[in-house]
Symmetry: C2
Subunit: 329 residues, 2 copies
């Protein structure tokens, strides 16, 4: 039986423990890694044995904050006093690490994602937090921990990456207040901004250019679609991961409300990314093709020729836009 | 004789006045317009006659906050009690409007740019403020003014645009605290982000793509250069203004420390934009070609063939990088 507890109670349990193993979700992003690393460093400052058990090597862009916190196998801590999922409230997202998680004497979850069913013994979920980094900051304050520079930097990375550096609509007054306090704690703001946002792989720029060149605007300027084929990736010397930001750039075109990018996968299936800007609901569109996601960011995978997929997705977007803006777009 | 005064004293003078004309600098940016509009709206709430006398029609991207504040000729207010330059401390930056400025009974300046010599009667300059929007916010608080939603939105635009949405190194803890307070005052954060950052002219994307395709990386990956020719603009159906953000994208390439973009002007001269990421000093390079600017953002204009200009700029960047990182890059 899972029990909902307060940050204060989580703090108390961590203070009473000696060995703590932290679990970010698989394919960990800046918030998952930043939150785990900040908590790990802070627990070590308190004299505890703490590590972050990752599902895979953290992404390059985040490596400047990880220090020696992240480990790939859990043998450094046997029978941890506490195993704690951070930025992850679903068991399937620690796939391959769940045995280690259940070896913990107490199993906790700290997250800002709403999930249907939690797991472990105790959880704290605040869906109003823009990032789990905000919750870790509040937890550390609750524990009376000193916010050292490396801890502050890991939390700034967590919050910056999960809010698109204060651009996404999850950004709240509290997000800015915590950012101010982290800056007061001494983060090297310029270094973090350079590492996160001025560190773009040239292959990413090349594939973005190629995708722009193929972009088609439709539905009276409110729809935009483009593709990333395997051939385009080959010509740019790029991999699938370099095409991940194409969708945001296409959505950012003036007047566009719904954008789609079709990516040709190695198994010939087409991965479709969808974004809405203001009032569109792309999870509905993705749902019609067996996918899902959030209102403004969703996706699906279809098994057809890329040209056929493009026509079907365009038709679905056009229909959705007609419902929003009227049929004569 | 110009006199340095406090924000409190500026507030007192504004409170004692009935008619106030505000002056942003020419080619007004988001901070100049946002700061002027916020102050104008707030003064009107206090029952004053207030307008913003602009040098030219405000840029499209900012039009969602200007309301009916901006006017192109000063005849709506004769012999204003106060004329006040906002985000502008140099007389040459109100060129064409200086007669109207001097017709004010009291002439004030509120700015965050350091300038050699001010003008008018009284000035307040705080170079530590990330944006003049911060100073207007503090001035309004000093005056006990209510921060209405339109005032808060104009100030959020001012601060967001002048800090690259909290990315530039001028961002301070105070910037975030003011942002938090403006959000608490009720700004429509999502709308502002969409208007400012998801409103990209497709010609801008096309010219950026064309420039990426021509980008050359040199000096062991630490230098990057590209060009925007008139022919490229023609092919993309774009104007010079659509090429303004190319330089930032080129600088953002991983590993690049100094970036340059050469733009072919209508008079055949070449306008060179230069950016440094962390430790480079591009004002030195620009200075060698008769230009100037800031340490991390500078420029110059040269009168030669674009290919010759490219070679000379590349050589200067390579030399500058060799001094920074050693000669064997």
């Amino acid at each position: 039986m899972i029990k909902n507890i307060s940050l204060k109670e989580i703090g108390k349990k961590l203070q009473d423990a000696q060995s703590i193993l932290l679990f970010p979700h698989e394919n960990a992003d800046g918030d998952a890694i930043g939150s785990c690393v900040a908590l790990c460093l802070s627990l070590r400052e308190m004299g505890k044995d703490a590590f972050v058990l990752v599902g895979e090597e953290p992404a390059d862009f985040i490596s400047f904050i990880t220090g020696d916190c992240c480990i790939g196998d859990g043998s450094k801590i046997n029978n941890p006093d506490i195993c704690m999922c951070v930025d992850c409230g679903e068991e399937k997202r620690i796939s391959g690490r769940e045995d280690k998680y259940y070896s913990g004497k107490i199993r906790l979850t700290l997250d800002h994602h709403v999930t249907e069913a939690g797991f472990g013994d105790f959880f704290y979920v605040d869906e109003n937090a823009a990032a789990t980094g905000e919750l870790v900051y509040e937890l550390l304050k609750e524990m009376g921990a000193e916010i050292t520079v490396p801890v502050a930097e890991a939390l700034y990375v967590a919050i910056s990456t999960d809010t698109g550096n204060f651009k996404y609509s999850n950004t709240s007054p509290k997000t800015h207040i915590i950012a101010a306090e982290l800056m007061e704690a001494g983060v090297d703001h310029n270094r973090i901004m350079v590492e996160l946002y001025q560190n773009v792989d040239i292959r990413q720029l090349k594939i973005r250019s190629a995708a722009f060149a193929r972009a088609e605007i439709f539905a009276g300027g409110k729809g935009a679609i483009t593709c990333v084929t395997r051939r385009m990736l080959e010509e740019a010397g790029a991999r699938q991961e370099h095409a991940e930001t194409v969708i945001d750039s296409i959505r950012d075109i003036s007047g566009v409300e719904i954008a789609a990018v079709l990516k040709e996968r190695d198994d010939n299936k087409i991965k479709v990314s969808l974004r809405a800007k203001s009032c569109g609901k792309v999870n509905d569109i993705a749902g019609r093709f067996g996918g899902g996601g959030h209102v403004k960011a969703a996706g699906c995978t279809v098994d057809m020729e890329i040209s056929e997929a493009a026509e079907k997705i365009k038709a679905a977007i056009t229909e959705s836009l007609a419902l929003l803006f009227g049929g004569n777009e």
